[in-house]
């Protein structure tokens, strides 16, 4: 055991092995396939890019995907806050069950959600037939797309806001009350700002998820070109037409947008943590 052995690098064994496996697996499953996408995109000419993005169908699908997601995320921000508030602050029979169910959109396979929502909002569905006489069509219209997007994004805002809400110091609200503020004022001026970063993070997460969503939306959307086609569907359509370049182009744009969002979300979460630590 004596000898001029060089000083080993690490005390706990297994570094080389585990890091090696990690990197190989990561490369094979994630990085190399993604590289294939960017390689393909890099090989496209400017004319091909223009051709893809001046297609009215593509433009419409991107508008719907991004626009619809924004609306849905905004709705989720409002209602998600409401749900988080009720779950954290109030008690009612079955609260725990309801709390667990909030994760349903996360756990339910998207195709199941897709056909279920369609069944509900189609003209002969439970909700569809209530809205039909009012002239409101949901299924097979952009409205249906937004409804599906709200479903998908539901847990995100709730789950990001809940812990922040639970950790809020009740003393701050008591102070506000002692200074004469009414509940609504306290909410608007004291509580809401404290929840800001969490709300924004939840919004961004819901938005990012809805933009890329496919399964839950294509059933209820009706997929009418220019009206209710979402961007992921455009990618599949292009693939079926063997327009690999078109599909790649749209995918790259969506990926870049997703990564930008991911960076934004990370920055937001850092901001939120800095706020929490610094404020005390």
């Amino acid at each position: 055991m004596i000898g001029a052995r060089s000083i080993p690098n690490r005390v706990i064994p297994g570094f080389g092995l585990t890091l090696g496996i990690t990197l190989v697996y990561l490369s094979v499953v994630v990085l190399i396939p993604l590289a294939a996408l960017f390689l393909k995109a890099a090989g496209m000419t400017w004319a091909q890019w223009v051709a893809t993005f001046t297609d009215w169908r593509v433009i419409a699908s991107l508008k719907l995907s991004f626009g619809g997601s924004a609306i849905a995320a905004a709705l989720n921000a409002v209602f998600g806050l409401l749900v988080a508030w009720v779950l954290v602050r109030y008690d009612f029979p079955g609260r725990k069950l309801v709390d667990a169910m909030v994760d349903l959109p996360f756990a339910l396979p998207t195709a199941v959600a897709g056909i279920a929502l369609t069944a509900l909002y189609a003209p002969n569905g439970w909700i569809g037939e209530l809205l039909e006489p009012l002239g409101i069509k949901v299924a097979f219209t952009p409205v249906g797309v937004v409804v599906a997007m709200v479903f998908i994004g539901l847990p995100f805002v709730v789950r990001t806001v809940e812990p922040v809400l639970a950790d809020l110091d009740s003393e701050v609200e008591e102070a506000a009350a002692s200074l004469g503020a009414g509940r609504l004022q306290t909410f608007r001026r004291v509580i809401l700002p404290a929840l800001g970063p969490a709300l924004l993070t939840g919004f961004a997460l819901a938005f990012a998820r809805a933009v890329g969503e496919y399964g839950s939306i294509i059933f209820i959307a009706g997929n009418m070109p220019g009206v209710s086609e979402i961007a992921p569907l455009m990618i599949i359509t292009k693939l079926e037409q063997y327009d690999y370049l078109g599909a790649t182009a749209i995918a790259v744009v969506m990926l870049v947008a997703s990564f930008a969002l991911l960076l934004l979300i990370n920055a937001l979460q850092k901001w939120r943590h800095a706020r929490l630590r610094g404020a005390s």
């Binding site: 779950l87 667990a100 339910l108 998207t110 509900l120």
Partner: protein
């Protein structure tokens, strides 16, 4: 004790609770109910008959097979990655963690697209594949790969914050007592993370069995061969076999509910032993 001034008036609480529950009923409960009722519109006999159709059975078998391959592989990866990341310090660690998270922010359709671009007939490795006689796209291997991509981060994401929080002391103690690397991992680390691991496996499995978009792109929808349960739902639905589609969907919904139940149980009983910062 709730003091009058520091919470809303009783009527306000009731209103808010009612609104929140109405929102959740609309978006969560009703779709679930829709699945059940639609599946049973023609009675239990037709329901069970639909489930025992040979094509349905093979879809179920394929889904189970894919999960049986993808989930264990991702578990091994997750364990290796979290060991490498939490027990050692090295440059590029946070980059590695970000890379592992990538599949989370990529649209499922794009997750499938990248494999088509890599292994498809016109893909980067397409010609080489055909020469070798491998079929990835429009065959089971492609489905497994696409599923591995989308479920890639689940186990690692649960283990990394948990193992980070647990630190390295116990492993170092085991080393001083004479245990080798693998025994330390087996006897000390693994028991400490078992609930977090189970949690990650649950989520990974639910996603693996329910994945639709990515698998849709790579599978070619070849019935009896490359149809998973979610794809089968789509096919049945498009053929207007409502009972059939919802019958299969009901199985997937059941899986979702079991997952949610097990998840909640783990969260409730082993709160401290699953991921410290639970990001959605």
């Amino acid at each position: 004790m709730v003091r009058a001034n520091v919470t809303e008036a009783r009527w306000a609480r009731w209103l808010l609770t009612g609104l929140a529950l109405a929102f959740l009923t609309l978006f969560l409960a009703m779709p679930l109910l829709a699945v059940l009722t639609q599946a049973l519109t023609k009675g239990f006999d037709r329901y069970f008959a639909a489930l025992s159709e040979p094509l349905t059975i093979s879809a179920i078998q394929l889904t189970l097979l894919v999960a049986a391959i993808a989930v264990p592989l991702n578990v091994v990866f997750g364990l290796c990655a979290s060991w490498a990341i939490t027990k050692f310090d090295f440059p590029g660690k946070s980059l590695l963690i970000t890379l592992i998270d990538i599949p989370f922010s990529v649209s499922p359709v794009i997750s499938g697209l990248v494999y088509v671009l890599l292994f498809g007939l016109q893909g980067l490795l397409g010609e080489w594949m055909t020469e070798q006689g491998f079929r990835i796209i429009f065959a089971v291997p492609g489905i497994v790969l696409a599923t591995m991509f989308v479920t890639f981060p689940f186990v690692a994401r649960e283990l990394i914050p948990l193992m980070e929080e647990q630190g390295r002391d116990e492993e170092e103690a085991a080393l001083t007592l004479g245990a080798g690397g693998f025994r330390t991992f087996l006897l000390v680390t693994l028991p400490n993370v078992r609930w977090g691991l189970l949690y990650g496996v649950l989520l990974c499995n639910a996603r693996a069995m329910g994945e639709f978009g990515a698998v849709s792109v790579v599978s070619g929808h070849i019935r009896g061969l490359t149809n998973t349960m979610p794809l089968h739902v789509e096919i049945l639905y498009n053929e207007y076999d409502i009972v059939g589609a919802f019958a299969v969907a009901s199985l997937l919904a059941l899986l979702a509910l079991v997952t949610l139940g097990a998840k909640s149980l783990l969260e409730w009983r082993y709160r401290d032993e699953i991921a410290a910062n639970h990001r959605v």
